[in-house]
Symmetry: C2
Subunit: 353 residues, 2 copies
């Protein structure tokens, strides 16, 4: 290896046959590393003349006292609430929050390309968005800690709900009430079509229907961009079906609010003519009397902050993983009207009176 | 003066008989300072052996490339949206955003006391909150630029709506529709009772009624903490009056959403039995069919960011000041029902049927 080529931690990890995280822990004298592994990493470091870089040394001391927080949206309630919880914990620990809004693919690229060169944070917290493979390598090469909240990021400490379980709570509630013709309003992230939050919520719907012995009808699933107005449009689409559903499961409360607006404008009663269930327990859900699956959003930000503090102190992250959701039954769901079942498709259709 | 006492800009300003801001501008060769004033400041600096401090020198160069953004709330839509607009401009200019949530008086004290010692930002942007006198001195002693958005902070470049004008648009709309018995739901900041946003909105109500020749009835004004549930409670209180109003003006949309929930639960029709108007044009306002006074929230954050960039570049802040609001008429307001005027107080009361 030429003398002026800087050896980085990725080289050491590769040589030792361990992950970046393990190499990082071994080199920073982290207690939870097997002795054999630590010896292997140290040997690799010696062979490569690896010098602990300023960035890597921050692992122990937190030299910058700054944490980068990366969010795909600032003004949406879910992300702002995660951020509020996280910021409170970091501020208490006297760490500064550097906020980075990465709204689209170009922003993401820019953020991940420039951050290492700047060497200005001890850790990165990723809120409600995925971290791609190349981006992970970049972060790891900096030797900074990485924590995710509001979504699971493979290979990193995270705190998140189980989207599939949350979706099941919503759809099972509709099935329990007797609905047999259930629509779904799914949402897409225009910039992040691969983000697994929505696939989990969609899978829950398919599995719940299959277990109930109900057929999958593609027409009952409408996929729209996230937001209230798209939710309203999606409900219009469902109402225009030859045989509309008797209940609708929306992937988020804000989408459900839009769906409810369409129902009110169509002169339909909620839940007599149509039940609606969401996910989140947005502050407006109580006011809108929306049945929903509540997730503790601020708490996820707090838990991520605490995990990060433990990591920065050289310990193991605790209190992360999957947090529980719970069904909150309000006035927007009820049993289907008699005569509204699909067995009587000649009966008056809810959307057409 | 003892040799080891560091002379600061406040000493220079005092000696020269000018404000901190003027002293700062004079010392940084800002073009908009009268020659006589500049000469006086330079003479004072020389007499005091004032050395331009690292902080003061940042005025020109922006040495840290970081901007502190101070917000009283993160998760509320208004503040998160301001922040989103501001962050976009600062990020484009390659400035980092350090986010500080100052939720209560202790947080505020902590922030303003510690920031100067840390010397880590080129500027401070204050979003939607006041800056007290002692705090201003502290910021000025750092030699950092200060900009306010979402509210007017005396003595600093700001961008904000005119709260009194916005309130007039709301109340005048109700008067134009023929309402003569108008309630108001005002809100308080528990931690910032002196923040002038709400006084402006309250003054608008009193002035509009006075100009219309209507008496001020204290019972028609309910003051609650900010939020949807308090808004719902406030409407319950108005409905319990011997003679309820026929229309209600809420200081913000989120409060109005709560008020509308109470009306729906009471079986009252909006607007036939009660008109409701808010301020903001929250994203949910369209879905809730709420008449409101729209303010451009994200744009205020963007404008504040641009003002700050101009200041950091040594120029004059442009594009700030008061931004226009506009009435957005939706389905929540209409003329009062015949027979609901106060002249016929023996008629059936909306809240009691």
């Amino acid at each position: 290896m030429p003398p002026h080529t800087r050896v980085n931690m990725a080289d050491v990890a590769r040589r030792a046959g361990v992950s970046m995280a393990t190499a990082s822990r071994a080199l920073s004298n982290h207690p939870h590393v097997a002795e054999e592994t630590r010896a292997r990493v140290l040997a690799a470091a010696e062979q490569l003349s690896y010098v602990v870089s300023p960035e890597a040394s921050r692992l122990a001391g937190g030299a910058t006292d700054r944490v980068a927080v990366v969010v795909p949206h600032i003004s949406r309630w879910f992300f702002a609430t995660l951020l509020e919880g996280l910021e409170a914990v970091l501020r208490d620990a006297d760490l500064d929050v550097l906020l980075y809004h990465v709204g689209d693919a170009a922003d993401r690229r820019d953020f991940f390309q420039r951050l290492p060169a700047r060497r200005k944070v001890d850790a990165v917290v990723v809120l409600g968005m995925p971290v791609m493979h190349g981006e992970r390598e970049r972060l790891e090469s900096m030797g900074v800690h990485i924590v995710a909240a509001g979504g699971q990021v493979e290979h990193y400490p995270y705190v998140s709900i189980d989207d599939a379980a949350a979706g099941r709570q919503a759809v099972d509630h509709l099935l329990f009430l007797g609905h047999r013709r259930i629509g779904m309003i799914a949402t897409v992230e225009p910039t992040e079509p691969g983000w697994p939050a929505n696939p989990g919520r969609a899978r829950a719907y398919r599995e719940a229907l299959a277990e109930a012995g109900l057929p999958a009808e593609p027409g009952l699933v409408v996929t729209v961009p996230w937001g209230g107005v798209p939710g309203a449009d999606a409900m219009s689409q469902l109402l225009s079906l030859r045989e509309p559903p008797t209940a609708v499961y929306a992937h988020s409360d804000e989408v459900a609010f839009g769906a409810m607006r369409t129902l009110r404008r169509a002169g339909l009663r909620i839940p007599e003519d149509m039940s609606v269930v969401g996910i989140d327990d947005h502050p407006m859900a109580e006011l809108a009397d929306l049945t929903t699956v509540a997730q503790p959003v601020r708490d996820q930000g707090v838990a991520a902050g605490r995990m990060l503090l433990a990591l920065l102190a050289g310990g193991e992250p605790e209190g992360g993983g999957t947090v529980a959701t719970r069904l909150v039954v309000r006035g927007s769901t009820g049993p289907p009207r008699p005569g509204s079942s699909r067995a009587r498709s000649s009966s008056p259709r809810p959307g057409r009176r």
